[in-house]
């Protein structure tokens, strides 16, 4: 497939936003059960939610560039019964809304305690909002992944690993950002987020490697024989029916040379996994914001390459019809 930059930015930016929210809420959840110290509502949860929202809005803006007719985008919520894209279109604004609400409740201290149990644990409004929003964050990951995983003849995508990769890569980048953010505001949660960022990054490495391993061994179900229905061992296309380009030749071919395609795979494998893990480990030792920020920047840039590769690797069966001019 031809990777569209709008979709690359959409999926990576909202992944960071979702991951950052999950990180913030994980921190709050741990503090409720008194495992971690309570953070400041204003500077930590309020600003953290704002930061997550900035990434989500960025993703939403990027998605507009993907549409031929953005002024009709409101129509895309209609077919939620059948279309994963439509479901994503519904879940994304809902998630953004609750993230904003979560931040506002924290920032303006409109956070009444709803109930307590065992006299020790208090459940306040933000905890409930955050809990619902956590469900939405995972639902959004699931929708995004299923948009690609549900197309069965794009065999590189049609695997549960696609959904798992979206969850883990988004969460990893969100926790990396949370680590840098905690260092920036001087929170003691830096180590907590840093450790989780490393763990999730390693988990994402395993799952992404598994999908690369799987995709390297794919047996394609379609061939030129099934494409034109002629049972012969040797079929060669002599003409695709036109000499100039068409939508079919632009949309489904990534156009990169085999060499740069291969090298981009190694570039993202290095930038998304080992380099951020090394930088976060280093940064945690010193509690240094610049190193942690660099870790996130490298990982995010790597994820842009990863997403490019994800799209480019998918081999559309229609390409069988366009093998020669």
């Amino acid at each position: 497939m031809h990777p569209a930059f709008s979709v690359i930015f959409l999926t990576t930016l909202i992944g960071v936003g979702q991951g950052l929210f999950l990180a913030l809420y994980t921190g709050q959840l741990y503090s409720v059960v008194n495992v971690l110290p309570v953070q400041d509502s204003h500077s930590f949860y309020g600003l953290g939610s704002l930061l997550a929202l900035v990434f989500l809005v960025g993703g939403l803006i990027a998605s507009v560039f993907h549409l031929g007719r953005p002024e009709r985008a409101w129509r895309s919520a209609a077919q939620w019964r059948t279309s994963w894209l439509s479901r994503e279109v519904i879940v994304l604004p809902a998630f953004m809304g609750l993230t904003a609400l979560y931040g506002l409740v924290h920032y303006f201290d409109m956070n009444p305690v709803l109930f307590r149990f065992s006299g020790e644990f208090t459940v306040d409004l933000s905890l409930v909002i955050g809990g619902i929003n956590t469900g939405l964050a995972f639902a959004l990951f699931f929708c995004t992944g299923m948009i690609y995983a549900c197309i069965k003849f794009l065999q590189e995508w049609a695997t549960p690993l696609t959904v798992l990769n979206y969850v883990l890569l988004g969460s990893a980048s969100g926790f990396s950002l949370a680590t840098a953010f905690a260092a920036y505001v001087g929170s003691e949660l830096v180590t907590f987020y840093g450790a989780w960022a490393i763990i999730i990054t390693l988990a994402a490495f395993i799952s992404r490697s598994a999908s690369l391993f799987r995709n390297a061994r794919i047996k394609y179900k379609s061939s030129l024989r099934s494409a034109i229905g002629i049972r012969h061992a040797r079929i060669e296309q002599k003409s695709r029916g036109f000499m100039a380009g068409s939508f079919n030749t632009r949309e489904y071919f990534h156009g990169a040379s085999a060499q740069s395609f291969r090298s981009l795979k190694w570039i993202f494998l290095v930038m998304v996994f080992p380099v951020p893990v090394a930088l976060i480990s280093t940064g945690l030792g010193y509690g240094a914001f610049p190193v942690l920020a660099l870790a996130f920047a490298v990982q995010y840039t790597g994820l842009l390459v990863e997403r490019w590769f994800f799209f480019a690797q998918a081999n559309h069966p229609q390409n069988l019809y366009y093998q020669t001019v």
């Binding site: 007719r69 009709r72 279309s83 030129l224 494409a227 296309q237 380009g245 068409s246 069966p317 229609q318």
Partner: protein
């Protein structure tokens, strides 16, 4: 349930592209808006087409066959492009099974084109909406046309009648008969899309003639040459038979 479709006879198609040009001409002049061409007279021209004819060579020289392969939307009975559409712009008509795009609802997200394994959909670069073969829906029901012309433009244009049009779910229609009699098949059956359009394979018409059939068995001389004239008083076959 009615399912209109094309049956394309690869045995007859000569690859003249008349269906391509006729399709483009009819549909670019239609009420649904023109099919854009970008840079038509410039370097790197491109345009929207519903139908293409491709050419494949089968076998190894000198034992090769050239197969011309017309390719358009197959109007699948279970179209994968329809459920993925987020707006409902892409739909399959219940009354005749034609898969259509509502150009006023399409947001141009291209998701349906990703979900079509045949590459039958094209984004119009000018209108920025997805377009595809309509099976000339604006023509086949037009009662101002004589009944013989209420067929898709490509079918009417084909000089060798390689394209048949009709209801594949009606057992005695011209298309169903052609599929049944000539081994009609679907493209990429492995994805369960159940395309309505069928293709008829290349086939050879042969009769077996044995050597003795080439020689006149009633030739008394067992030789292929003119028989000697019978004598004037001699009986001939004409005298003793009634033909």
């Amino acid at each position: 349930m009615k399912q209109l479709a094309l049956v394309i006879d690869l045995n007859v198609c000569v690859g003249c592209h008349a269906c391509v040009t006729s399709c483009k001409e009819w549909n670019t002049s239609g009420p649904a808006g023109f099919m854009s061409d970008m840079n038509p007279y410039d370097a790197d021209p491109t345009g929207t087409f519903f139908n293409r004819v491709q050419t494949f060579e089968i076998g190894v020289y000198p034992n090769t066959e050239t197969v011309h392969f017309p390719k358009s939307c197959l109007h699948c009975e279970d179209p994968p492009c329809v459920p993925v559409c987020p707006t409902g712009a892409s739909y399959k008509r219940k009354e005749d099974g034609i898969v259509l795009v509502d150009y006023d609802k399409c947001i141009g997200c291209k998701y349906c084109s990703w979900a079509c394994p045949y590459g039958a959909r094209e984004l119009d670069e000018n209108q920025k909406v997805m377009k595809k073969c309509t099976l000339c829906v604006d023509r086949i029901y037009d009662e101002s046309l004589p009944e013989s012309e209420r067929k898709p433009a490509c079918v009417l244009a084909c000089p060798t009648s390689a394209r048949l049009f009709g209801d594949v779910n009606e057992p005695d229609s011209v298309v169903s008969t052609a599929i049944r009699d000539n081994g009609g098949y679907q493209l990429m059956p492995e994805w369960g899309t159940n395309p309505a359009n069928h293709y008829l394979p290349r086939r050879k018409t042969q009769i077996t003639i044995h050597e003795d059939e080439l020689i006149r068995v009633d030739n008394p001389l067992k030789k292929e040459r003119q028989l000697p004239m019978p004598d004037a008083d001699e009986q001939t076959l004409d005298d003793i038979t009634s033909w």
